[in-house]
Amino acid sequence: MAASAEQSSAQKQASPATTWHGIVLETLKRNEIRLVPYVPDRVLTTLIKNLHADPYFTTFPTAREEEAVGIVSGAWMAGMRGAVLMQTSGFATLANVLASLAVPYQIPLIMFVSERGTLGEFNYGQALVCRTMRPVLDSLAVEHHTVTRLDELEFIADRSIKQAVTTQAPVALILSPLLTGGKTFDK
C-alpha cells in the first residue's frame, strides 16, 4: 500500500497536469502528436481551446470525423503524428474508414472519443448510438479502453499511443463521464 501510494504521488509530481484535459494535452505532446483535427463536443471544449492556444499543435475542425481520419492517416504516412477528437455519435460514422483505411493499411489511428449516451444521458438517440460503438470496435479487433479514473488516464493514454505506433494499429480511448463529468440535462 505504502509503495503504491508513493508511486502514485511520484507520478503526480512528474506530471503538472491535474485535470483530465491537461493530462491528455501533455500526453499528446510527450508522444510528439502535433496534428489534432476534431469535430467538437461540449465535454472537449477546454481541451480544444487549450490545443488551439498551444503553438506546438496544429489543430482545426473538420466537417466530418472520417475527414479527420483521412487527414491524420495521410500525415502519418508522411511522417507527422496525429490524433482525432470526437464524440460518440461521430465515432458511429467511422465504420467504413476504419475497415477500409486504418485497419487494412495498418495505420496507427489514435482516437479520443468523448462518451455520450450513458451515465445520465438525456437524449435517446445518443443512448442508442453509444451502444453501437464497442461492437464496431470489437468486430474489427480494434484496441479500445474506457477511461474512468483520473489517476489511470496518463498510463492508459501514454501506453496506448505507444502501442498504436509500434504495432501500427488503431486505438480508441473512450473518455467516460466518470472521468470528464459528461454532459447533463441542465447544461
Binding site: 483521412g70 487527414i71 495521410g74 507527422m80
Partner: protein, 200 residues
C-alpha cells in the same frame, strides 16, 4: 433536351490526363481516389510516391491534406472522382481554411458512378463542382478547357501560393489497369516514397 448548361470544356480522358500529369513529376506525392481514378494512376506507371485508395470513398483530398501538412516542402497532388467528392464536400472548406499552398486537387468529372454501372450522380448536369470549390473558399479553382489547358493549370499550381483545384470533364471510359490490392505494401512503399522509412 438536356439540363446540362453549355460549357466550353472539352470532354477528355482520365487515363490520358493522368499520364500527362505523371510525365511532369519527379518526387511529388500523388493520392489516387477510390476506383477508376487510382486504377488509371496505377496504369500510368507505378511510382513509390503514389498512394492508392482501396475504399473510404471521398477521402483522397483529406489524405492529401494530411500529406501536405506533414511535408510542406513537397508538392502533393490528389486525384478524385466527382462522385467521390460529393461524399465529402465539407473537406473543401477545411482545405480552404488550412490553405496548404503545396496541394493541387484534380476532380475527374464524368457525372456518373462509372464503376458501379454508370449510374448518374445526383449532381450530374446540375452542380458545378468548380463553383462549389470557389464558394467553399478555394479561390484558385477552375475548369480545364482542354488537355493543353490542363497541363498549363498543373504547371501553374506547382508554384502557387494557395491550394489549387482543377476540374476536368472526362468521358465514361473505365479505368485502364487494376491496382494491385495490397494495402500494407501500398502504404509501406508510399512511406518509402515520402522518405519516412526504408523498405525491409
Amino acid at each position: 433536351m438536356t439540363a446540362t448548361p453549355a460549357r466550353n470544356t472539352k470532354v477528355m480522358n482520365r487515363f490520358d490526363l493522368t499520364q500527362r500529369l505523371i510525365a511532369k513529376l519527379k518526387d511529388e506525392a500523388v493520392i489516387g481516389g477510390i476506383g477508376n481514378t487510382n486504377f488509371d494512376l496505377w496504369a500510368a506507371g507505378h511510382r513509390p510516391q503514389n498512394f492508392y485508395m482501396l475504399g473510404s470513398m471521398g477521402l483522397a483530398f483529406p489524405i492529401a491534406l494530411g500529406v501536405a501538412l506533414a511535408q510542406p516542402k513537397r508538392r502533393v497532388f490528389a486525384l478524385e472522382g466527382d462522385g467521390s467528392l460529393l461524399m465529402q464536400l465539407g473537406c473543401l472548406s477545411t482545405i480552404a481554411t488550412q490553405a496548404p499552398k503545396n496541394l493541387t486537387m484534380v476532380v475527374m468529372d464524368n457525372g456518373i458512378y462509372q464503376i458501379t454501372g454508370s449510374q448518374p450522380t445526383p449532381a450530374a448536369g446540375h452542380t458545378d463542382v468548380v463553383a462549389v470549390a470557389l464558394a467553399s473558399g478555394l479561390a484558385k479553382s477552375s475548369w480545364a478547357a482542354d488537355e493543353d489547358d490542363f497541363e498549363r493549370l498543373i504547371e501553374q499550381s506547382m508554384t502557387a501560393t494557395a491550394p489549387t483545384l482543377i476540374g476536368v470533364r472526362i468521358d465514361d471510359k473505365p479505368g485502364t489497369g487494376t491496382t494491385r490490392r495490397d494495402p500494407v505494401q501500398i502504404r509501406e512503399r508510399f512511406m518509402h516514397g515520402m522518405g519516412v522509412r526504408q523498405l525491409l
